[in-house]
Symmetry: C2
Subunit: 498 residues, 2 copies
């Protein structure tokens, strides 16, 4: 081990321990903690977060990082850790302390305003906070600007390195050109019958089936926990303790099923990281987009395929004979792939999901790189929804107020969701060259697919950057054409469009 790097280790270990505690406090708060604990937990989280901040942002760490700039004795893992910590240090250091404090306070108030605005269906309650968030976004972008990176690109880089506006513009232009016309054609077809997915489904039986499902796709109970929360999520402190949640609805069968597969996709990634990165800053996914590629791959490309359900649909029918006894495998597969251009992102189908992201991407770009006031945004939002999805939100609660992200200052996050879908399709194209994916799935051999993902993506954790992982896994740079081809082929077939 590099002798200079060695001096960094105690700071990294304390950071890891505090991060673990913070993640556990969050998980516990979302899944188990009693009702009245919330405000006291918030206080504990505040103190430990501050402690964590001071642990990494201090003159000793700064000095070590400076010394490491010219250190030639680090191995590749140490180098990757150094780069990650240095990036975080620089981003944090660039923002003056007082602004950080004011921003933290704004965030807390902004989220409450957003909740209130959503509840009251009144954007004007949230507008002044969003206005300030946009101003902070611009400021932070200016602070973080460096050679060849400015404006919105600086914020995008927080969530996904090396995927700036230039790349995203070209990606979304292709989507616009190819997917919107396809959607229009689908919208002229008679809708697929999926009414049987909305019968009454006993929640206890759903739980049992979803536990089976998580295990079937590869979730390892020896290093994982599954629980319930209002909104499904995955959290992980290291590859030996990865946790997912699902939310069950009595009148919806598909919701929990695809949440479970989605979160299991995230979890299998985390569980598959190699032990040499455990409890280091590399012991997590490479980026938001790569993480989302793994969850979406499992949820959509695998979980909504006919081949996936061939070996296990029988089990689902046996669990719910009254509701599904008369429903054929083909009817079921058609129903779980029904395209419904709707106003809500989180309920969107695979085809239209990225169009929801496109609306947000274009608006974020305007926020940071142009002059737009918060008050104008609902109108812009609604127009874009009409143009791309062919729907106009009934009110702002199901329109511009639907997502929490902007109220938390997360501007630049959304595009990584879309990138995740495109990464997944590119990886899928490569996988199909190496194996007969449908045949493996039909034979119940999902392990072969997981092995491919483990070998090319999971094992590395955050050692490699997203772009490098994609290049090594698929043999080429990011290419959104795979995603567009995948969507066109799949949905033309489902809807009988040539």
């Amino acid at each position: 081990m590099s002798q200079i790097f060695e001096r960094l280790v105690p700071y990294l270990e304390k950071h890891m321990a505090l991060q673990t505690a913070l993640a556990l406090l969050d998980w516990d708060d979302a899944t188990l903690a009693p009702k009245e604990a919330g405000e006291y937990t918030a206080k504990v989280i505040g103190i430990l977060s501050q402690e964590d901040f001071v642990c990494l942002m201090n003159p000793q760490v700064k000095k070590i990082l400076e010394e490491l700039e010219t250190d030639k004795t680090m191995d590749s893992t140490e180098q990757a850790i150094f780069r990650k910590v240095r990036k975080q240090f620089r981003k944090n250091e660039a923002i003056p302390k007082e602004e950080k404090r004011a921003y933290a306070e704004l965030k807390a108030r902004s989220q409450k305003a957003w909740e209130e605005a959503k509840k009251e269906q009144d954007f004007s309650i949230f507008a002044p906070y969003l206005e300030k968030m946009i101003a902070y976004g611009k400021k932070f972008a200016a602070y973080g600007a460096s050679d060849g990176q400015e404006g919105y690109d600086v914020l995008l880089d927080d969530y996904e390195e090396a995927f700036p506006v230039e790349v995203l513009d070209s990606f979304f232009e292709k989507l616009k050109k190819e997917i919107i016309p396809l959607l229009r054609k689908i919208q002229q077809q008679p809708p697929i019958d999926d009414s049987f997915l909305y019968l009454e489904y006993d929640v206890e039986k759903q739980k049992e089936f979803n536990r089976f499902l998580a295990e079937y796709v590869g979730f390892d109970w020896n290093r994982g926990v599954m629980a319930e929360s209002a909104h499904p999520f995955t959290t992980s402190w290291h590859n030996h303790d990865v946790r997912i949640t699902t939310h069950y609805y009595k009148n919806q069968l598909a919701s929990a099923i695809f949440s479970t597969i989605h979160e299991s996709g995230h979890a299998i990634y985390e569980q598959g990281i190699e032990d040499c990165y455990t409890q280091t800053v590399l012991g997590e996914g490479a980026s938001c987009g790569i993480h989302e590629s793994q969850s979406r791959f499992m949820e959509n490309i695998i979980g909504r395929s006919r081949a996936f359900w061939i070996p296990i649909y029988k089990k689902l029918v046996e669990t719910f004979p009254e509701q599904l006894g008369e429903v054929s495998l083909d009817q079921f597969v058609a129903a779980i792939n029904r395209v419904k251009a709707d106003e809500i992102r989180t309920e969107a189908d695979e085809l239209t999901y990225c169009l929801h992201i496109m609306v947000r991407y274009e608006i974020e770009k305007m926020m940071i790189n142009e002059e737009v006031s918060a008050e104008e945004l609902p109108k812009i939002w609604n127009e874009k929804y009409q143009e791309y999805l062919g729907v106009t939100p009934e009110n702002d609660a199901v329109g511009i107020l639907q997502d929490v992200h902007w109220s938390m200052g997360d501007i630049g996050y959304f595009p990584s969701y879309a990138l995740g879908n495109a990464f997944a399709a590119q990886i899928y194209a490569r996988m199909k060259k190496e194996m007969d994916v449908e045949a493996e799935l039909s034979a119940g051999n999902i392990g072969a697919i997981r092995d491919f993902l483990h070998r090319t993506v999971h094992r590395y954790g955050a050692l490699k950057e997203a772009r490098e992982i994609l290049l090594d896994a698929t043999g080429e740079e990011f290419n959104p054409d795979y995603f567009i081809e995948y969507l066109k082929e799949k949905y033309q077939k489902i809807y009988g469009i040539s």
Copy 2:
């Protein structure tokens, strides 16, 4: 607020936040965490514990504590916090750093040796570690010795202030004189039939009944959680988040029931502490003994009384009609009070429980105040069991190796269990002067009993010391006669002995 005290607050808050995280990590590890997480969690706990230690044990805190010695501006709460922190500081400071590190390492190895010894039924595996633990106990007692306190008294003071050997000797002598002869008479009676408690009881139904039971005795779900773990326990980060566990056995009905009532007794105490102590070092029970008095009060004095079961036995029978349909209330109450002098403390009945503690107390006193080698102890243990309880353990695993405490260096803890029983009886005697406890219980009005405990004990948290609480609640100093009278009256009646 005292200006000097104010400077202590940031240290106290950080300590509180770290303690919360540590308690949550422990809880999670015992109830939910996946199998493989253990060793990684241990590392996190190690780092955060060290952080917590440094937070309170440093020159700044020492200086503030010294200044507070002569500060006249503290209010009573600040004074109590000051006293508690100072005591901890002094005890910690007295032990040289290197010894503390060596001791921590010994503890880890000692526990593993104890587990191994217990599994192999071979005391010799644990003997060398116990020998070292005794040596450390003597050293720590010497370091902590002060005016009028030395030897075993110093260790006792860690768990229960103001109850030294002098007080305990007199307590246990009375027990010996009165309870052992009563036990001999009971052992000559025909045993009570409790076979129906060991039929097969569906675990899901047990869970349902135990949730009802926790709520019935006063557990507040808005500020509490109930889960399962191998060994039942209560933990609390503050009065708005108190957690209990139970363990269910398919072939034992009473085990979970009395665990639930016992842990609920602890929990109601913690939940009942006033908000002004929340997230301070006073926001916990006054002492081990007072805590145990509240759990034992609920479990034994209330939970094993006939009056308690009058309003709810019907519900238990309805839950298990096949097993209990033919069992009368009186048969049930007799069965849950059956005296069985046995070798295992944790399974002991109310009458013999303190005799188990007496064995440990006498041995601990020998360990610290006399010269005894670890190797001699199993023989001494077995002889005392024969003398007091009339049984000789079959092997050391169910003899001297049964409890984890000594392997963890907890010498001086056991007596607080016995004191808890005696405190409970003294409080009960006082309560009976104020209300007709049986009538209230029979009417299902357990709230009246809880109110008394809340008013006299719970609300104060650790503001008062144990002795002060007892004095204020009962109007007199500790008097073990109440406990002895309570036991004699109850068990003479149950066994028809005059």
